[in-house]
């Protein structure tokens, strides 16, 4: 699945959703909306694409309870709103749509989470992307530093050539929310691999220590759970330049999930996994072994952490042996550690010792 990029096709697919409801009423039945189940129980590995996709389980949202009836009404309002934008040549952010819904009376959203979810639902049902719907995310794109050269189409319609090492300051190159070919072109590079980093503190540490030049790599800051555009640009660099991707995160259950969303696809966006996920990405650390091997200062797992780890044990994306071992080991030691706990051994330990050792294991240094 990719962008439809055809307003008429987008509209007609949205109309199918509306028709389902309309036809049910005409037949004297409660209106419905049918969509894939969007939980971990309904994701399966697609061997052709190498990523996790939604399975065959469908759920029917029908108007027999007030909550789902309201959801159907909201969906109709969103469809109408999208059509209006397509016709007027406008776009809006998801947050703006949430506020616009104030005027939708009974169909207004209770929270922004609801409107985000509904936009995703419509993507899933219509096989369109939110870009087709003229909806933009709020989330910032990532920052990147390293010897890679990109071309970006600016507001004035000019292509600018930017080298993410020489043409940027210490905060790096900021990626826009749209990183598709019509906006960003990958020109050239002189790096051996791409390293995705969870925290800003660690990103800045590696930048200050000149790690990107020393090891000939590009650094990309994920800002926690990475935005679609961040995952998309990683995927593009991996595919178009054939660059290996390593992911350097905290050592806790939530980092495992971040990695899964980069490498295998996120549960919420499994309908577009093949477009966002980088199956060849590898997890560099912090691993459960690292906590013991480097004797890192660690915090006790909270009850929520433990719950999350247990849920991961039954998540198909973590079904392989290495992940099961990592998760079980973390449960066993009952500890988690942050990336920056490596500073226990000094500011340069991470760049002089930890990363070289890990990269060597991976055959990248």
């Amino acid at each position: 699945m990719a962008r439809v990029n055809d307003p008429e096709l987008t509209k007609s697919r949205l109309h199918l959703v509306v028709e389902e409801m309309y036809d049910r009423i005409v037949k004297g039945e409660p209106p419905t909306m049918t969509l894939p189940v969007r939980t971990k129980t309904n994701i399966a590995f697609d061997s052709k694409l190498g990523v996790y996709k939604y399975g065959k389980k469908r759920s029917t949202r029908d108007a027999t309870s007030l909550g789902s009836a309201k959801n159907l009404l909201r969906a109709l309002h969103v469809v109408e709103f999208i059509e209006e934008m397509i016709e007027a040549g406008k776009s809006s952010t998801l947050r703006e749509m949430y506020y616009i819904s104030e005027a939708w009376g009974l169909g207004k959203f209770g929270s922004q989470n609801e409107s985000n979810n509904l936009a995703e639902d419509l993507e899933v049902v219509t096989s369109c992307l939110r870009e087709d719907f003229k909806l933009r995310p709020e989330e910032d794109g990532a920052r990147m530093i390293g010897n890679v050269t990109l071309r970006e189409l600016n507001r004035r319609g000019q292509w600018m050539t930017i080298n993410a090492r020489d043409d940027v300051g210490d905060s790096g190159y900021g990626l826009p929310y749209n990183v598709e070919i019509e906006k960003i072109q990958l020109k050239e590079h002189d790096v051996k691999f791409l390293m995705a980093i969870e925290t800003g503190g660690m990103f800045d540490r590696l930048v200050e220590n000149g790690f990107d030049e020393q090891y000939n790599c590009a650094l990309i800051h994920l800002k926690g759970q990475p935005a679609r555009s961040t995952r998309r640009i990683i995927k593009r660099m991996n595919e178009e330049w054939d660059l290996p991707v390593v992911v350097f995160l905290d050592g806790d259950p939530w980092s495992f999930r971040i990695f899964a969303s980069i490498a295998y696809g996120a549960i919420k966006t499994a309908h577009i996994s093949e477009y966002l996920a980088t199956p060849s990405a590898s997890y560099l650390g912090i691993t459960s072994d690292d906590i013991l091997a480097y004797d890192l200062p660690a915090d006790d797992l909270s009850s929520k952490d433990i719950e999350a780890l247990k849920a991961e044990l039954s998540d198909p994306r973590f079904a392989d042996g290495w992940w099961q071992d990592q998760i079980n080991m973390m449960l066993e030691i009952g500890k988690k550690a942050e990336q920056q706990s490596l500073a226990k051994y000094g500011l340069d330990f991470v760049t002089d010792t930890y990363l070289p050792e890990k990269l060597e294991e991976m055959g990248l240094a």
Binding site: V18, V26, K27, G28, S65, L72, V79
Partner: protein, 688 residues
């Protein structure tokens, strides 16, 4: 005028040796004058108790004004003015009432009375005299005289005698210059400290107003702030009969005194005439058990004989191995507040959404009749994270101190309140939440833990009754909450079919540019039920409670039902404007037949209830007979209906014997709870 026997005796016997000041100093803790904040509360309490009692006796609806002002802040001198519209006191009796230490005139009479606490208004006069040297001013007007008596009452502390001064007759005018018909005004100065909070004059008056819904109380505090608790019922508390003591509840000293004072010539006659529950047969058996001759003259009985008689009373001495059987004492000596009035009393002082109340049937403990009433009020206006407010009362008198040590508190603590939506650590202790719990014990013999008379002492009978009352009230609360939940669900369904579904139809039609489809099929499929919607609303203009019941058939088949409702027939309500007719099914139960209810149609039953006050009837229970379930109504339990009919017959029999004064609360029936042991009907509260 009311004095506790112990104090009075102590005073009488020691009169010569102890000066009043000394007596006061020694006993101030149980006279209620042990601290400056408490002294002013006690003074207010004595004045208000007197007013309420006097009004009750004279069958006047009380209107009480209390004003406290600061006279000298440095020396903590306060002035208390208390005024009522009671019968007043005849000039010749004023001295007695305010200045003389008498045995209470009701000493031998047993009935529920407020005056089981403190030393009475005389104590206030004494305290005032001792702390400020000033006498107390009394203004009294009785209806039969044109002018009022104005007099100052002091105490001669050396002679322990009341002294009056400046007595004259004046014209007493109200604020609007009309003549005051009757009433009493007491003005007194004393050392005291005015405080706010849980133990304060304000709280005392607030609590008093809750259990005296027939009283109008106005209070002006030292800052000039005015508080007003309006009268919410015109109904005075039931007049109580006094009863004779029951052998099970008597103590040696009292029995000795009764024998000594007796003029009867035969013990059997003495027993029958001076005690309740003693029949001719029982009198003879008691004599036999005590090994006394029936013809013994009570006055000449020796201490050992009296003791033997007491042992026979208590079942320690038996007749041929059997305890002498006695009848239970009559319970007409009790005056409960009654559920509907507790509800009103609570709702006037606390803003709330829900009130449940429960008045248990009278019961007997050690020969003393008693009755427990409880009320629970739930509301947004109260703090949700604090312990609930516990409002304790004994014979309509607020108990403000020693909450933890009180039997009533312990009964509250023994309930697991979590099932009723309150927080409670471990299911024990005073629960937390936005609620207040009221407990009232009406009894002819209230037992306190100490002379301070602020906490009730342990008594397993009272404890059990209190627990039962609260559990029953809790059940009512749970039922109400369940009903509310069900109603919310029904409301949701209505919103779904009346608002959301039409919007979906319109919006989808407009997006697709097609005609708006007909919804009836979808509606039937979504609801697939018969739904009942009930509203019970007070109409200000007509002063009637309007009830409307709508039955919607959202199924695909025609239906037939009988619809039944409960209504306050017993409380004197009248059903008017009931155009559908129907028939009486039982006391307080009316029914209508709905022959055919076609698919997609509705039937409406409407009527009004007159002869009720606002808040008397706020929720109607709807029941049905029919095969298809009705959402929003309860399937009628025929056994329950039988039970009500049976009870009704039983009540009729009772009515033939004892005249009913109409003071009974409303009855309702509850198919979920069958109260087999006492056969009493219960009224659960509703929205206010």
């Amino acid at each position: 005028m009311r004095l506790v026997a112990g104090i009075a005796e102590k005073m009488a016997s020691n009169q010569k040796q102890i000066a009043i000041s000394e007596f006061f100093e020694k006993n101030k803790h149980f006279l209620g004058f042990d601290s400056l904040p408490r002294s002013i509360i006690t003074a207010v309490k004595e004045a208000v108790d007197n007013s309420l009692d006097a009004c009750e006796e004279a069958r006047i609806l009380p209107d009480i004004h209390i004003k406290i002002s600061k006279i000298d802040s440095k020396k903590d001198i306060l002035e208390l003015v208390s005024e009522d519209n009671g019968p007043g006191i005849p000039q010749t009796s004023i001295e007695k009432v305010f200045g003389q230490l008498l045995f209470g005139s009701r000493f031998h009479a047993i009935r529920q009375s407020r005056g089981q606490q403190g030393i009475g208004i005389t104590g206030v006069v004494m305290y005032s005299q001792l702390t400020t040297g000033k006498s107390t001013h009394v203004l009294s007007k009785i209806a039969s005289e044109p002018t009022a008596t104005s007099v100052k009452i002091g105490l001669d502390t050396r002679k322990n005698k009341a002294v009056k001064s400046e007595q004259n007759r004046i014209i007493w005018e109200n604020e609007d210059l009309t003549l005051k018909e009757h009433g009493l005004r007491v003005t007194t100065r004393m050392k005291g400290k005015y405080q706010r909070g849980r133990q304060s004059v304000f709280q005392y008056l607030r609590m008093t107003s809750i259990v005296n819904p027939h009283a109008e109380i106005t209070f002006i505090d030292p800052d000039g702030e005015r508080f007003h608790w309006p009268r919410v019922t015109e109904r005075l508390p039931t007049k109580v009969d006094s009863i004779k003591p029951h052998p099970h509840g008597i103590e040696l000293g009292q029995l000795q005194r009764m024998c000594r004072d007796s003029k009867d010539s035969r013990l059997s006659v003495f027993l029958r005439q001076n005690f309740s529950g003693v029949s001719m047969r029982a009198a003879k058996e008691l004599c036999e058990a005590a090994e006394l001759d029936v013809s013994v003259k009570p006055k000449s009985m020796k201490p050992d004989d009296v003791r033997a008689l007491l042992e026979a009373f208590q079942g320690e001495r038996m007749v041929s191995g059997k305890i002498v059987k006695l009848l239970a004492p009559p319970t007409t000596c009790l005056s409960p507040i009654e559920e509907m009035l507790i509800k009103k009393g609570l709702s006037k002082t606390i803003d709330s959404k829900f009130i449940a109340t429960m008045t248990r049937a009278p019961s007997v403990s050690h020969g003393n009749p008693f009755q427990v009433e409880v009320g629970l009020i739930f509301g947004e206006g109260m703090a949700g994270d604090k312990h609930v407010e516990v409002l304790r009362f004994a014979n309509r008198v607020p108990l403000m101190y020693q909450q933890g040590g009180c039997l009533l508190t312990k009964a509250i603590e023994s309930i697991d309140w979590r099932q009723y939506g309150l927080e409670q650590a471990g299911g024990r202790g005073v629960p937390k939440g936005p609620a207040a719990i009221l407990v009232h014990l009406a009894s002819t013999n209230v037992q306190f833990t100490s002379e301070a008379k602020e906490a009730l002492s342990d008594n397993s009978n009272v404890f059990e009754e209190t627990r039962k009352a609260m559990l029953e009230m809790g059940r009512g609360l749970r039922k109400h909450l369940e009903k509310k939940k069900k109603m919310a669900k029904t409301r949701e369904k209505f919103e779904l079919i009346n608002d959301i579904l039409p919007a979906i139809a319109e919006k989808s039609a407009s997006i697709l540019d097609r005609p708006v489809p007909d919804l009836s099929g979808s509606i039937t499929r979504i609801m697939s039920a018969v739904i009942c919607n009930e509203t019970t609303e007070w109409n200000k203009e007509t002063k009637q409670t309007n009830v409307s019941i709508t039955l919607f058939n959202y199924t695909s088949r025609a239906r037939s039902y009988s619809v039944l409702v409960n209504w306050p027939e017993k409380a004197g309500g009248e059903m008017v404007g009931n155009e559908r007719g129907g028939r009486k099914e039982a006391m307080g139960i009316w029914g209508w037949k709905i022959e055919t209810l076609e698919p997609g149609t509705q039937a409406i039953i409407e009527y009004s209830l007159s002869n009720l006050e606002k808040g008397d009837w706020t929720e109607t229970d709807v029941f049905f007979r029919g095969s298809q379930d009705v959402i929003g109504a309860t399937k009628l339990d025929e056994k329950m209906l039988e039970e009500i009919r049976r009870l009704e017959d039983a009540f009729k029999e009772v009515d033939d014997v004892v005249s009913d004064d109409g003071a009974d609360g409303a009855s309702s029936f509850d198919p979920g709870v069958v109260d087999g042991d006492s056969g009493q009907t219960t009224l659960f509260g509703g929205d206010v």
